[in-house]
Point group: C2
Chain length 363, copies 2
């Protein structure tokens, strides 16, 4: 156990802001990610919030602004639990960096994604108590962690459309896997926006504001936007590119993990597939010949709309070098695109090209 209670084999991209993902083996075969393995994506120093004096302010386009302690939230609203996968918009950026470098961004591998059982209250219930006004089209989240990455430096924030905010799955959560929310994951309270990029699940939440327009926070208006390849991200302004919200269909291979040679022969290959948004994964294909032929993996049923689905298949690995390729199909029969080169973008977001893992088998 090292930084922030995380396992000592975390892949630490930065110590401050703390940005780390677990190794593939930590996620393999586990529908729920343990707290010491859950990836951590931050934009500034981790704030220390005094839960006793902390209040959640609910304001903006509401008839009854609220100021709620943690006890108020626990006592005055129904408790809900949602099993949800969070996925960083930069998950699998390393695959895009193999195409062309992306200076200034962390080379996230396949594990900037994790799944927990989140407990808290529905944002919809809190907004109902505050009596949301009809012209509230967006719900903004504000936090105290000041980011020097932002231009100008500013506390972290973001927003989601009111339609999503009022859906039953969006929580204000104080617990994770049945335990108090760890400080690194947003204690005392964080937003959990299932199916959307992790950046919208704002940690150390202190203010919820109903407003007409999306948040003007740097991380909503400027960052987390998919720019076309030719754009200069330093010159991109608000409203350029595609604002990232719902997550696109994705998958990865978790075992084997490519870290050492394996014996050839029948080998169980496992991984995750995540449909994102409100979709589910319908099929998962694995290829040992770069996509010329495919075998269908055994895929978990979509028990929770908001969680990834694990998959496994046993294939006969030949001696020598092999690339394992995996691709997911969603419930609309859409399949992931093949080539990371087609997806390259200046900030390296949303790489959902086929998963590829190179490994060597030696008798």
């Amino acid at each position: 156990m090292t930084l922030w209670g995380k396992r000592d084999d975390m892949v630490v991209h930065e110590r401050e802001p703390f940005n780390a993902e677990p190794p593939r083996r930590a996620l393999a075969g586990s529908p729920i990610t343990t707290l010491d393995s859950f990836y951590s994506r931050n934009h500034g120093p981790v704030p220390q919030v005094d839960a006793a004096t902390w209040r959640l302010e609910v304001d903006g386009l509401v008839r009854r602004p609220l100021s709620l302690s943690l006890d108020d939230l626990r006592d005055r609203f129904e408790h809900h639990e949602v099993t949800a996968t969070l996925q960083c918009a930069g998950n699998r950026r390393a695959g895009l960096m193999e195409v062309r470098d992306i200076p200034g961004e962390d080379p996230w591998g396949p594990c900037a994604t994790s799944t927990a059982r989140w407990t808290g209250v529905r944002l919809a219930d809190v907004l109902a108590e505050a009596a949301l006004l009809p012209d509230a089209a967006h719900i903004a989240f504000a936090a105290p962690d000041v980011s020097q990455i932002a231009d100008p430096p500013q506390p972290y924030g973001g927003s989601i459309p009111a339609g999503k905010a009022l859906s039953g799955e969006v929580l204000l959560a104080w617990a994770m896997n049945g335990r108090p929310l760890p400080r690194i994951h947003g204690a005392p309270l964080r937003a959990v926006v299932p199916g959307w990029i992790g950046a919208r699940s704002v940690k150390w939440l202190q203010r919820v504001t109903a407003q007409r327009e999306p948040s003007e926070n740097y991380f909503q208006a400027v960052a987390y936007r998919l720019l076309p390849p030719e754009a200069d991200p330093d010159k991109a302004g608000p409203s350029d590119g595609i604002s990232l919200g719902p997550v696109a269909l994705n998958c990865e291979i978790l075992r084997p993990d490519g870290t050492g040679p394996l014996p050839p022969g029948p080998t169980e290959i496992t991984g995750y597939a995540f449909a994102g948004d409100d979709r589910t994964v319908a099929r998962l294909d694995v290829s040992l010949d770069d996509g010329s032929t495919w075998a269908q993996a055994d895929l978990d049923e979509p028990r929770d709309t908001w969680a990834w689905q694990l998959w496994r298949i046993t294939l006969d690995l030949p001696p020598g070098e092999t690339t394992i390729t995996a691709r997911a199909w969603d419930c609309t029969a859409a399949v992931q695109p093949g080539c990371p080169g087609d997806l390259w973008n200046p900030k390296g977001y949303a790489n959902n090209s086929w998963a590829r893992l190179r490994l060597t088998c030696r008798p």
Copy 2:
């Protein structure tokens, strides 16, 4: 004007059942498709329904079964209008057939998709009047048109999950573009299920049944399922493959149409992009070098969630042979897959690979 009031340059794949799509030029530049251009996909002879004696039966898991005349529907329920694109699951099958033949299926081009303003009542309102029971998970549609394609031959039918059926956009429609629904498009009443494959928008609707399971009709249980490439469609049974429902992201080039040589030089290229499901299109790219470089087209704002978005761009076409390639990105920053070969399936459904149009420019 020839068959069924359609324009005389329709591409008729079959006369009975009548299966025809308009040429690209008929759709180009028109947000709403005219009635004489709207594609027509049928599975049996077009029935002649006497509107005066016709009744819509609403039964199954409801507390109050209903038998409704057209006047009942018009008088007892609020009228709604939805602009929605319908798209055949076999749209663009011809592109898959270039990869490998698909015997027994029509070679639909890019125009088995059209958009209309539909007027009628909400299915949700009719189900509320019938007092839907809580264990009703699916809403089945039944029609009188007997299909010899089905095994065994049977009247056409299908179903949608109750969640979709209760959404505000699903209509029971008697008008199309402000005119009475033509017989070929389902008079006196049809289902309109926006964002879903056209097959679920059942025409000549005569029965709506609330039930625990999806319809066992051949066109729900056996056909309209995306099978893996190696499957034998004649041996595929219920629950094999992915049951097609929501439409996946797609696009096509409508002008130029590749039917004759053009002069080289600046040329306006236009087309449609359709996100399907409840998504919208966020970006449309066009390439003249097979996807090495892309230019962003001017894309219509998503005014109607359920309708396609038209796009246009002026590019300098060189003399000689050129392939125009187009691809759409949706609001999750997902892009269409590149290669039809990756999507080939035994029944030829859901081809949403990049659009490609070959043409010749001569000075």
